[in-house]
Symmetry: C2
């Protein structure tokens, strides 16, 4: 799924994750978002475009500023993928674990009998 590509790629950058964390505290303008970072404004603008393409945020005009807000739905897609797979993985490991325990107990039985 191409949506997942974009979401995970967007989340793979620490600056972008920090921007998202900041936005979780409330909407902010591009300038406000850029302020804590030591990179240029165009760099932040590019990060915001990546986040917007990944559907993680929206930017809306407000006078001469652009206000950024989170869009929580997209994160759910990624979260769902991970959780679904994690469940599969762990089931698999649980089965393996049970199998190994069974082997173990059989050997013990043989050893004792």
């Amino acid at each position: 799924m191409q949506q997942l590509d974009h979401t995970f790629a967007a989340l793979a950058d620490p600056t972008r994750r920090a921007i998202l964390a900041r936005l979780a505290l409330g909407e902010a303008t591009v300038g406000e978002l850029a302020e804590p970072f030591e990179v240029s404004l165009p760099a932040i603008s590019k990060h915001l475009k990546v986040l917007e393409t990944a559907d993680l945020i929206i930017r809306e005009k407000r006078a001469q500023q652009r206000v950024c807000k989170l869009k929580p739905e997209a994160l759910k897609t990624a979260s769902d993928w991970i959780e679904q797979n994690r469940r599969m993985w762990e089931e698999r490991f649980d089965r393996l674990d049970a199998y190994l325990r069974e082997l173990q107990s059989r050997e013990t039985d043989n050893g004792n009998g």
Copy 2:
């Protein structure tokens, strides 16, 4: 956190996600993993290295083959980050929603009084 960078970057590629999904069904050799894809073996080998660096899989020698297995712990790191943030985001949106509802009801009260 650098671990998150690697994990999300690894998950951002559809071939790598497919490999993980395959491995959820059980361990597999490099050749077995490569078989369903239309790319060369070295390409798969590189993907596996990315997954290994991200700590999502381990490769162990078995005769002249390398057997790949999932390592579920790393996925938890990513899952935790997403879930934690998702909760923050949604709380934020819940608060905003409550606030807007309150505004609405006040205006209604004023209009009626």
